[in-house]
Each structure stands twice: as structure tokens, then as C-alpha cells.
Symmetry: C2
Subunit: 205 residues, 2 copies
């Protein structure tokens, strides 16, 4: 019984350290892609021993996967969950897209978008690439599903192909993020907003 508080304290501290490592790993991946991530670099930036970092994750690949999972949870909380308050179809589609833009604008990760950076490097481990591809597919699917729902409720034209509209709407988000990163142009988010509004209006009934 007496040992418990100490164990709990240790465990809390360990969790805190793990979270710190994870946050830095997520930041590095978002800025430089997965190639930028190494146990040695994390240890040096956090002033820990390599063994210390290693103890929390076991391998570089586990660390990469943990960083991706961390980013996924943040995305879920900032983009997907707040959209549940909007009615399904066009309203929820708009909510997801706006949350997504805000998520990019807030520069949640140091380099603005972990998934664009991470998906740039085809030399990344296959398991990691697969996870990234799967996540992106899920997010694209969340857009497609709202479009399909909107079509079933005659909110949009019957001939509209959900995957095509999702492709277009998603492209505006990525372009905004890309232009922001490369040119430092915050106005790009406004361009994406206008493109999204125009495109949705053009297909709405």
C-alpha cells in the first residue's frame, strides 16, 4: 500500500515524458517528414539519454507509428468530433471542411501538416506508409459520405459523384496548406474557403 503513491508518481512522470517525446516527434515529422525523426535527435533535443527515449518506444518505427497516432487523435478531436453538432449532409460537410482549415491555420504541428510531410517520402517504412495512406483514405471517406448523404436527401445534384467532389474539396485544403508552408501566405486559407463555398454552391439544389 505504501509503495503505491510512489509507483503512481513514477508512472505519471513516465507518461509525461512519453508525451513530451511524442509531441516533439510529431512536430519533427510534420516539419521534415519521417526521415527527420531519429532516437538520437529526440534524445539530444530533450536532453535525455538515447536509452531513455528508446525505453519509451522500443524502436524507431514504433516511435513513428506513435507520432502518427498522436496526430490522428488531435485531428479527430479538432476536425471530426466538433462536426457531429451539425446535421448530416451539406451542413456537416461544411463543418468538417471549416474545422480542417482551422486545424491547419492554427499550425497545430510545427510544420503545419504532419500527413502531407509524412506522405512525401516514399523511402519510409512500408508499415508506416500504409498507416498514413489508410488514415488519409478514412478522412477522404468522411467527406465522401457526407456528399453521398446530401445526394440521398436531394441537397445536391443527383448526378454528382461523391468521390469526385471529395477530391476537389480536399485539394483546396492541401493547396492552402502547401501555399502557407512554402510562401508563408495566410491568404491561402481564405482562397480555400472561397473555393469550397463556390464549389458547394455550384452543386447544391
Amino acid at each position: 500500500m505504501a509503495a503505491q503513491p510512489i509507483v503512481r508518481y513514477r508512472s505519471t512522470r513516465a507518461q509525461k515524458t512519453r508525451q513530451e517525446i511524442l509531441q516533439l516527434a510529431t512536430d519533427i515529422v510534420s516539419e521534415e517528414g519521417l526521415q527527420g525523426l531519429s532516437i538520437g535527435r529526440l534524445a539530444s533535443e530533450l536532453r535525455m539519454s538515447k536509452t531513455g527515449v528508446f525505453a519509451h518506444f522500443g524502436s524507431k518505427e514504433q516511435l513513428q507509428l506513435a507520432a502518427i497516432d498522436n496526430a490522428k487523435q488531435i485531428f479527430q478531436k479538432q476536425v471530426i468530433e466538433p462536426s457531429f453538432g451539425s446535421p448530416r449532409g451539406i451542413a456537416r460537410l461544411k463543418a468538417i471542411l471549416e474545422n480542417w482549415l482551422l486545424h491547419l491555420e492554427r499550425k497545430t504541428f510545427r510544420g503545419a501538416s504532419l500527413f502531407i510531410a509524412a506522405s512525401a517520402g516514399s523511402s519510409d517504412p512500408e508499415a508506416v506508409r500504409d498507416v498514413i495512406a489508410e488514415l488519409n483514405k478514412n478522412w477522404l471517406r468522411s467527406l465522401q459520405e457526407e456528399v453521398a448523404f446530401a445526394r440521398s436527401k436531394r441537397q445536391v445534384r443527383a448526378c454528382l459523384e461523391p468521390a469526385q467532389l471529395a477530391f476537389e474539396l480536399h485539394s483546396y485544403l492541401q493547396e492552402a496548406n502547401w501555399a502557407f508552408k512554402l510562401f508563408g501566405d495566410r491568404n491561402s486559407f481564405q482562397r480555400a474557403r472561397q473555393a469550397i463555398a463556390d464549389r458547394i454552391t455550384s452543386v447544391s439544389l
Copy 2:
């Protein structure tokens, strides 16, 4: 006089070697971003000495800049120049966009697009990032200029903002390339074609 052919032969061989190094450098950057590029790696892949590679470029940054310049020249030849055969305005805009898609589809570079990969890493040297940003601005401008010309000739609606339409059209190109790289989905180029055609039709008079 007698020495000339030998000198010329040497110079041709040197040029050929330089071109080989440059091509591999361009491929690596397109696949992994600029971080993937090192003199040591090039030497090892080409079975040359590091000194040998170094002799041709002088520094890693010079090598990066040469790789970018190489990619720029290929882009100019494959995308911009062939569009000069089309009349200015909407016709030339369509030609540039179609050439651009073909350029991406052909997978000219091993990793499909040097500039997307290269612009992902914010840890790249500033001089290199500046060159990449400038090139991308020029290409976006080439789209904007055709839209502006089309507007001046009343080919498109008077209220159309050239930078906004260029943002949207460019986003389809990048999305196609991204989806192709991440999902191996060739269909994405067809989606971009449809998006471009629809968008241009929707603003045409």
C-alpha cells in the same frame, strides 16, 4: 591540334558524368525531399569517389540548386513550351494544365514531383527554399496570366479573380500527384482532368 580531340573527349565524358550525377540527384530529391540528398549517397549509388562527385558541384547546396535547375528545365520543355502552339487565353491555359498532368503522369522524376517533395522540408537551406518558392510562384503566375488574358478577351466572366482560379486549378494538379504517390491511384489524374474541365466550363462565357 593533336590534343584537342582528347580534351574534347574528356570534357564530353565529364559532362556525361555531371549529367548522371544530376539525374540521380533530381530523382532522389523528388522522392525524399532535399534531406535525402548527400554527396556520400550519390557517390555510393554511382560507384564513384566522394571527391569525384564533389569535383562536379563543389558543395551540397550547389548540388541541390543544380538538381532544381535541372527539374525546372525539364518542366519548361514538357509543360510550358508545348503550350506556345495554343492561342493565348483559355486554350493555352488548358494546354498548360494538360501538359502538366502528362508531366506528372509520366513520372518524369522517380518520385513524381520534385517540387512537392522539395517544398515539404522546412529545414532545407533558405537559398534553396527561396528558389523553389520562386519557381512555384512563376508557374502559378503562368496560369494566372492566361486567366487574366482570357478575361480581357471576354472568354471568361468579368468578375473572375485570376489568382483564385489559378489556386483552384493548381490544387487539382497537386492533389492528383499526391493521391498517385500515396495510394498509387492513377485514376486521380482523371479526377483532376474532370475537375479542371468542369471548373473552366463554369467560368467560361
